[in-house]
Subunit: 179 residues, 2 copies
């Protein structure tokens, strides 16, 4: 039981999905586990990506983190293009390899659900890789619109419901708080 990795899904329209994944990454790193973060769709580097420099594997008390942007940016105001599907497929190949190898104890697939929702990747293919992953790998998937098949396959699902969001006040994304 102790060495089995579980599958988490953080979905819903509220703030806190990617943030919770990074909180979990921090906790894992602090216990000496290595963490991989593959960010689908997103192409912008958020502030938290700077932690790569801190958790670089040189301090034996902490794990190391690797963060990779696997997308071409979000689809707000545009439709996904063939190049987005290509980027998602290439990114998924990379993640599938890491899921099989078990090189990282924790694998975070940020906004993977968006890639599934927009049909850039097949849910069936993703589920097959998840089922056949290295059994010790803990997987954390974040993003809106998690497909039912993924929810069925998950061991833990939190639906982060927006009760209120300050974006509705016209507040823009702020450095160090929202990105």
């Amino acid at each position: 039981m102790e060495t089995k990795g579980y599958l988490h899904v953080y979905t819903g329209n509220g703030k806190g999905k990617t943030t919770a994944a990074f909180g979990l990454a921090l906790r894992a790193l602090c216990s000496g586990k290595d963490v991989y973060v593959g960010q689908f769709v997103k192409s912008m580097k958020y502030n938290e990506t700077k932690v790569e420099g801190l958790f670089d594997g040189t301090n034996p008390a902490f794990g190391r983190i690797r963060i990779e942007q696997l997308g071409r940016g979000c689809f707000i105001g545009r439709d996904p293009e063939p190049a987005d599907a290509e980027a998602a497929h290439k990114g998924w190949s990379r993640c599938a390899e890491l899921l099989r190898s078990g090189e990282y104890a924790v694998v975070i697939l940020d906004e993977l659900t968006i890639a599934l929702h927009f049909g850039l990747l097949s849910t069936a293919v993703v589920l097959d890789v998840l089922r056949n992953r290295h059994p010790a790998v803990e997987v954390v998937i974040t993003g809106r619109y998690a497909p039912q098949g993924l929810i069925d396959a998950a061991d833990l699902v939190t639906d982060m419901c927006e009760v209120k969001h300050y974006y509705r006040l016209g507040l823009l994304s702020r450095d160090g708080i929202d990105r």
Copy 2:
């Protein structure tokens, strides 16, 4: 608008509340902001508290973090005792001081809602301090059972709904993943 701090509440029965707060702390630290975490009720040191050693203010590229346990442990299987209320009051005095001074750009009040729910602290008193805090301080409150007054006062509220939790499989809290 840029220097105004907002009030976040992460509540609900699903996993991800404290984790999201620590993810936000990580983001803020990476952008050079100082972060204070006051943990009400909890007395156990989670893995993530080890980050104090990494973000200690000596690296100018990162903020510093201070994490304090302000409680005597959770109430699972027991009722709150007068000593719990004393601890909560003492902890709240400390937090109120930091909220007024603005010493930390981000103040996280972890499980504060539990202290409110069990009547260890008065919601009216807490709201008054929050309203009169240093205006630049971003406040993040986590925990189940957020009282309506707090939700009304917040700028951002996410209700983290448990769809599934692996604790139901009999899985215990795991080092580096759940604590």
